[in-house]
Subunit: 391 residues, 2 copies
Amino acid sequence: MARIQNPETAAPERRAVQGQRPKPMTQHPVSAPPSVALPDPFRLYRGGVLHAARIAYESWGQLNAARDNAILLFTGLSPSAHAAASEHDPSPGWWQRMIGPGLALDTTRFFVVCVNSLGSCFGSTGPASIDPATGERYRTSFPEIAVEDIASAGWAAMQALGIERLAAVIGASLGGMSVLAFAAQFPHATRRLISISGSPAASPFAIALRSVQREAILRDPEWQGGLYAPEHPPRSGMRLARKLGTITYRSAAELGQRFGREPLTGIAGNVGLFAPRFAVEGYLEAQAERFTRLFDANCYLYLSSAMDRFDLAEHRGSFAAALREVTIEAVLIIGVESDMLFPTHEQAAIAEAFERNAVRTRFVRLASLEGHDAFLIDIPRFGDAIGAFLA
Amino acid sequence: MARIQNPETAAPERRAVQGQRPKPMTQHPVSAPPSVALPDPFRLYRGGVLHAARIAYESWGQLNAARDNAILLFTGLSPSAHAAASEHDPSPGWWQRMIGPGLALDTTRFFVVCVNSLGSCFGSTGPASIDPATGERYRTSFPEIAVEDIASAGWAAMQALGIERLAAVIGASLGGMSVLAFAAQFPHATRRLISISGSPAASPFAIALRSVQREAILRDPEWQGGLYAPEHPPRSGMRLARKLGTITYRSAAELGQRFGREPLTGIAGNVGLFAPRFAVEGYLEAQAERFTRLFDANCYLYLSSAMDRFDLAEHRGSFAAALREVTIEAVLIIGVESDMLFPTHEQAAIAEAFERNAVRTRFVRLASLEGHDAFLIDIPRFGDAIGAFLA
């Protein structure tokens, strides 16, 4: 079992803040979560190699004596491992109402571990991390990251925690892709699998939308070929990328219901011919400002590109062949009817790939209004589906 | 009848090029089409005033002796009046297969006139035009343009051509909105009306998407508060805006069918971690490059904002009330099932508004795959629907 790093002795940033939670003005985690070392060297799917790489994680519940009650949770593109309040950080997490005693991911039964993706910027090694070979940030010298690497780094982190087989692996969005890459690479490593709003291969529509988001960053003069200082990120590009992302993560129907054509009010300086006029623009503005403070632009570019290149059929030639060695008790695939970015025919293709391998598969289409982001919001529907599957 | 300007004696740009078609390297029309003067002063819907304003147009077919066979065609946001080959310009137009002898807009029966929108940059007065008061380009000193102004300027142009009542008014996208603004303001001015892929009021989803497109331009340092020189436009912002626009004008299904996950080939310099990899990205690239050469950034901002603010209910309180004075023989409303930007429930609302006023209304939902842009591509379906309605 690999060394589990204590948050109190972790990164210099953590010691520097002395337990105080600073305002999130940098692109780094406000305090370093626990992390584990990856095998060194850690070889990447598309040929790169990392040294002294780490994966940050948070956990809830207790690992049982048999070490067989662990659930590995992969995140979407932007969240940290802080899926719920924990000893490490008592603030609510991004899946707060899903993880806890008696909730869908029931911490009286399961040891739930959420990992920060390899390539992200919330404690795991990524483009914003210091390259041990140079003492400088990797930035664009970071090797190419694939969804497969997110999966294998997450699995290595669980092995470092002493776990040999999972009770379940689960993820939504990029996380929903990560669990597929997990199954293709580690076909015997989990008893159950839940892929939410995922895709077996990025569609050209999703690629096009992400490509424009990346270009907004790449063309921001402040990006400086990736060499921006952390305190001077490519803010305009990040804002545009997040606004466009946010639109595609929701649905036209939800925006219509929430905002209609309500005017924007209460924004100082809202003057001029092209200033935001509508409430929906204020919503995007808030999302963009928050994200630009929290996330690193290069990390965004790496993870966004990884999603585009993901294609389950790279493993042995077809979606079904990729999964042909999987030994698993049951699979749950969830899609959302209003999801424009990962439409339900993509989840249907995932379910079909498992079914072709005679895996017991449940495919649930949810009528949530909130589009791709529904798993973050429509907790009643998602909690019911996931809780029933794990019960 | 107002003066009809002869193309041979029109704008200085036209004389300068001496009939040669230069490469489209500027944001101006390659040669000035014919144009008519608007009433001076021309009062705008939101309070501004224009002097010495003009509307550029092209026409096909002959105005009959009774002057009652004219069809007024409004365009989408970006096209010029060059809808089909004409004496003025023999190159194919943007609706080439729709306008001509025996085609849906049958030039053996109708005198078809397409106007370049007020606020655009292909011969009509807009932000890129010279302000006669200063001798400089208007740029952002141009007054705010509403869809109502596009409609009233188009109608003024027709009156300048000696037309008192139209056989039909027709338009798609922004043009589909323009015909509604036309009906609300000039309820007795046409015998028939065709609104294609339009909306009675911009949805928050469409507003959000256009808002991001505008912000891409506004945040491009080259925009310079609107004061860029024509030869140094805000190219990055325009590229991003057009790429995003293009994605929303098509459908995920069409992009899937056309491009799949085909790799991009044959692009010199396609290197680096974040360079375009997929054929769909090459398609967006071509669209963006072409548009950035042709269209003026400030004009784009003005027309895009006008679409956001359009709300038919501003006229007398509701969609139906806006149309209550309309006297018209029949109305054709067309929507496309795959249109994500102007979804068919918006065209259904238009049809309902006419029906509530006891107008004979035909509402056609087309199964075209090409999304909002289908009217430019799926000529068989659109031609059949329009031809049958006008027969």
